[in-house]
Symmetry: C2
Subunit: 316 residues, 2 copies
């Protein structure tokens, strides 16, 4: 599958940072940037531009804030055509600062939002656009949204300068037919906009659903090294590269950074397919309950966890 318009965004540092409070070392972030650059990946997302008022600097590493100067220091001296993106949570906007694009290493600002915060997301998107950035809006957890509300949000977004609108399966609930449905719904309500997709791997469907999105004309694709990300993680970048036949891609540097950094990291951080994440996925719930239970002595009591979560839903 080669379609030149397809852009791949690596969210290793951003989504992976949700596992370790964004405490990746400079050496690692630089190694990732170097390998993505050599591999021909279109975008690297460095993390969040969070407010230090809402998120105390005592509790988080540098990739929670993604200061321009920090990013510049990391990428300094590395030959690259890879663009830089950062993410902002629409519901947690405070004292963040954004320089005009020509004074920043950042190329794209992606606004993550729930449907309920769409007006905040639009305001932030407009601001980023006016400063010269490429802009994207990632509507999270759409599998759990009321469809009429979602459609209203899409119709609002159609009238904004946002370049890309993402389908985000935060809970890893969707299977292929639902991705197809969403891609058509977004297409219908967002004429002229690019669509993006961000999948989670609770049911081992992140890559399959990403391919499904691509088949239905989604052109912006999120992935991460060896699928790193909160809970079950994301669509593995190496699989996306194996699928896309764009001759500009080079898989070797990606496999190199996986063997040198991701495999050792997997001994210290947990991500990927595990039964508790599968359980929240099939039940269309936020992975928080699974992440919590994985920190307890009962972390491998799968049957008990499943019955507890299922029964709590049945009791509603």
């Amino acid at each position: 599958m080669f379609r030149e318009k397809i852009k791949v965004l690596d969210c290793t540092i951003r989504d992976g940072g949700l596992i370790n409070n964004h405490y990746f070392t400079d050496e690692f972030v630089r190694a990732v940037y170097k390998s993505l650059s050599e591999a021909g990946i279109d975008y690297m997302e460095m993390g969040y531009r969070s407010s230090r008022t809402f998120a105390s600097a005592a509790s988080y590493g540098p990739w929670k804030y993604c200061d321009d100067d920090k990013i510049s220091q990391i990428i300094d001296g590395i030959k690259s055509d890879t663009k830089i993106s950062i993410m902002v949570d629409a519901h947690r906007v405070g004292d963040q600062e954004f320089r005009p694009v020509d004074q920043s290493p950042v190329d794209m600002i992606r606004v993550a939002t729930y449907v309920k915060d769409i007006d905040k997301a639009i305001a932030m998107t407009q601001k980023a656009h006016d400063l010269g950035y490429e802009t994207a809006v990632n509507i999270m957890a759409v599998s759990a949204e009321n469809e009429r509300d979602l459609v209203e949000a899409l119709d609002q977004l159609a009238a904004t300068p946002a370049d890309v609108i993402y389908i985000v399966d935060s809970y890893g609930y969707f299977f292929c037919e639902q991705i197809e449905y969403m891609a058509h719904l977004y297409r219908q309500h967002l004429p002229g906009k690019e669509l993006g997709i961000h999948c989670h791997n609770n049911q081992q469907l992140a890559f399959a659903n990403t391919v499904e999105g691509i088949i239905h004309n989604v052109n912006y694709v999120d992935a991460s090294l060896y699928g790193i990300g909160r809970g079950a993680g994301n669509c593995p970048l190496e699989l996306v590269m194996g699928f896309l036949k764009n001759p500009k891609f080079n898989l070797t540097p990606i496999l190199k950074v996986i063997q040198d950094y991701m495999m050792p990291m997997l001994k210290e951080l947990e991500w990927g397919y595990l039964i508790p994440y599968m359980v929240t996925g099939i039940l269309n719930k936020h992975p928080e309950s699974a992440i919590s239970m994985r920190k307890t002595a009962d972390k491998d009591k799968y049957a008990e966890f499943y019955e507890k979560i299922r029964d709590s839903l049945d009791a509603l």
Copy 2:
């Protein structure tokens, strides 16, 4: 997705046995049978009925031979509606014996074959059918077969008493559109026959491709506990159960046997998604080279392995 005709076959012991030369303990096999029975799974595949001439009893455990009396001993006293299947390799038929079905605990005989051995497979299928067994033919590695040869084999099979013909993605190469294509091809050439699907997880697509098969009217579905199977393994049974909404299924006993047996086993046996298996998958090759390299000191030199396999193909 609830379609009553869908039958789920667990191949934990059979495909998993390829990792440990079929040396599963009686206790484990009995625990699997009990949990599948409680969960409402339709079939359990116990292993191979191999010839002791071709496969010396000194080198393999009991599930390489699946003697009727051995199976009877395992299932004795367990209340169950789960049928038993065994597999026979068409190209390795020797001194195996088959009792008439009413003197055997086995319900179904599945014949695994390459296209080149289709005539042997048909002879074995006829023999099993005449003895009263349900019969299936699993055509392996179809992603690497010449399509005209495959079609000829399908046309031959159409005239046999085989109940089910399986699409087998031995190399884990296919993505959804190719499964759809195969399902239509099989349907067209096998009027009136049930179709089955057996996927491998090299690209984390085993479950997604199984769902794709189901969407395109495949009714026999192979899966295994936590995806156990040679190399990248199979479609995880727990995911299939989460997808199928047949009220007869009960997920709890499956999660219980995974936590009690599969997770400890994963510390001793290797299966599942790993980069070397992904490499053979995207290159449409048998996993043997990846399985071998995983037994060497260079088992985590992914980039090197990829370049070696890729270059060996480019040199052809």
